[in-house]
């Protein structure tokens, strides 16, 4: 059964169709990649899936067998759906620890998924899983490096014990070693049975992780399928990858 089911989802801003008729399914524990040129509606898609800051114009989102269109925003994570942002978003004046703790306290809602673990144990476990140095937890989020802020964002989502995570360009503006670490971290998260929907421009990340790949163009679905097939698709090469990108994709 699909964990996350997107049905004919559309978002219009006036005459602009930011997302148009997008449908796909993500199974439990799957890594689902989304690619496309800038402005193709990838982040908007995440926004309308969660309904924050705006909801879809039409279409439906099902999560864990339940329609979540129109559900109160703060309840989304209670159901087990978390997201990260393209920009390293954190509550800057709070310490890294406080950032993660907020998710731990408010995130799971009524779910009794945590067993007997204390708040501190849960925060530290989340930090450990994303390989965020424990010594950095006492620092203010604003004092962390870009990579650490990305790790913090993942830990804050992870601590809510989600069933699925929507990751918006987790590898952007990172160095090569950091990207390699990010891939490892996402694999570790996924190994805990958490489904991942991954928006990414960094092709090696996308191709080494995704089991299914969707390419968006002008808000519409250009191609959906196995990653190897998708990157060889003529339309995908023309609209997004370009000839050189396609060669890189082959290499990856």
């Amino acid at each position: 059964m699909a964990l996350l089911k997107i049905e004919n989802l559309s978002k219009n801003f006036g005459a602009l169709k930011a997302v148009s008729g997008v449908s796909f399914e993500v199974r439990k524990g799957q890594i689902f990649g989304i690619a496309g040129p800038n402005g193709s509606g990838k982040s908007t898609l995440f926004n309308i899936i969660t309904g924050v800051p705006f909801s879809a114009t039409s279409g439906a989102v099902w999560f864990n067998g339940q329609s979540i269109s129109g559900i109160a925003a703060q309840k989304i994570c209670h159901l087990g759906l978390a997201r990260t942002y393209q920009r390293e978003t954190a509550f800057d004046s709070l310490t890294a620890y406080q950032n993660i703790a907020l998710g731990a306290v408010f995130g799971p809602g009524e779910r009794e998924a945590t067993g007997a673990a204390t708040l501190e144990e849960r925060v530290c476990r989340a930090a450990e899983l994303v390989e965020l140095d424990r010594a950095r937890l006492a620092r203010k989020a604003s004092e962390l490096s870009i990579f650490e802020r990305k790790q913090l964002m993942l830990a804050s989502a992870l601590v809510m014990e989600p069933k699925a995570m929507l990751l918006d360009e987790p590898a952007s503006s990172l160095t090569k070693p950091e990207i390699a670490e990010t891939i490892r971290i996402i694999r570790n998260i996924n190994a805990r049975g958490i489904a991942i929907v991954l928006i990414e421009h960094v092709l090696p990340v996308l191709l080494s992780l995704s089991q299914r790949l969707l390419v968006l163009n002008h808000g519409e679905m250009l191609r959906l399928g196995a990653p190897d097939d998708v990157v060889r698709d003529e339309q995908v090469i023309a609209a997004y990858l370009g000839k050189r990108g396609a060669r890189d994709a082959e290499a990856a």
């Binding site: 924050v52 703060q74 942002y85 954190a90 800057d92 907020l102 799971p108 809602g109 804050s156 809510m160």
Partner: protein, 293 residues
């Protein structure tokens, strides 16, 4: 200028600063969490004094000042929740919320001011002071009431600071102020915390009303002038942190005391605005703004 004069100016500056700080913190709290300016804040001050008077004074229920303060603070908290539910919540989804909130809170302020005038009359009233008598310190006389304000205000401010820094709810409030979207997706009950920040701000304003009511005569419009000062303080100090307005409040209080002594009360307000404009030209994020804390 004698040493006594300097001391006198200092003390009256600190008294003013204490009151401004209590007001400004509430104003800043609502401003940062909801992103709106609450023009009814001045009426919370007025009502704080009138509620306390109604319960405490012999012409009202006559239950004494302690009961009056307790009732007033509780009533203001409830009123704060109500104000949020009626004046802000119905318009949260609108793009022009900031503008709508200006109108709804101004309307509420006008309504409440005239309701107070109608129900309590225009005749000036005065609340009993927190403490009777005078104390003399370093050769200057000071009313015990003002001395109590100088001691109590920082304690209250410190408790608010502790609440914001050390508790989960406080962290959640700060989180909302910084990124509402991310706060929502972290499961923080944003709407409930909006009500809480309004309630907290209203209670603090109510206390200011009670303190003021023991210094000056009460009138239905007694909150207006302090609210304008609090606005100056908040802009002057920067709203990025809770400590910015507090520090600015004491700076403004002292400045005002110096101005009143040197150029007279008539020009004081103008001088404050000149200083505020000058500060903003050099530091647009406010004197203590620029970094979030």
């Amino acid at each position: 200028m004698t040493a006594e004069t300097v001391l006198y100016i200092l003390v009256s500056g600190v008294v003013l600063g204490s009151l401004y700080a209590l007001m400004a913190v509430g104003l800043a709290l609502v401003w940062t969490t909801l992103g709106i300016f609450n023009f009814a804040h001045g009426m919370f001050i007025t009502l704080g004094a009138y509620f306390a008077w109604t319960v405490a004074d012999g012409n009202g229920l006559g239950w004494g000042l302690a009961a009056g303060i307790a009732f007033s603070v509780a009533a203001l908290a409830a009123l704060g929740c109500l104000a949020e539910a009626v004046l802000v919540r119905p318009f949260l989804k609108r793009d022009n919320l900031v503008l709508v909130a200006v109108i709804t809170t101004l309307a509420a302020a006008t309504f409440l001011e005239n309701a107070t005038l109608l129900s309590r009359g225009g005749r000036s009233k005065q609340l009993a002071p927190l403490a009777e008598g005078n104390i003399s310190m370093f050769g200057i006389g000071l009313s015990a009431h003002e001395a109590a304000i100088v001691v109590i205000a920082p304690l209250i401010l410190y408790s608010v600071w502790l609440f914001l820094q050390r508790t989960r709810t406080g962290s959640a409030l700060r989180a909302i102020a910084q990124n509402q979207e991310a706060a929502l997706l972290a499961g923080i009950p944003v709407a409930r915390l909006y009500a809480l920040s309004f309630a907290l701000a209203a209670s603090l304003a109510g206390l200011v009303g009670i303190f003021l009511g023991g210094i000056k005569f009460m009138s239905p419009s007694m909150g207006t002038d302090p609210m304008v000062k609090a606005l100056v303080v908040v802009i002057f100090g920067g709203i990025a942190s809770i400590s910015g307005p507090i520090r600015a409040a004491y700076v403004i209080g002292l400045l005002e005391a110096v101005c009143i002594y040197s150029i007279g009360i008539y020009w004081t307000q103008a001088a404050l605005f000149v200083v505020m404009i000058a500060v903003l030209m050099i530091r647009p994020t406010g004197l203590f703004g620029g970094q979030r804390a």
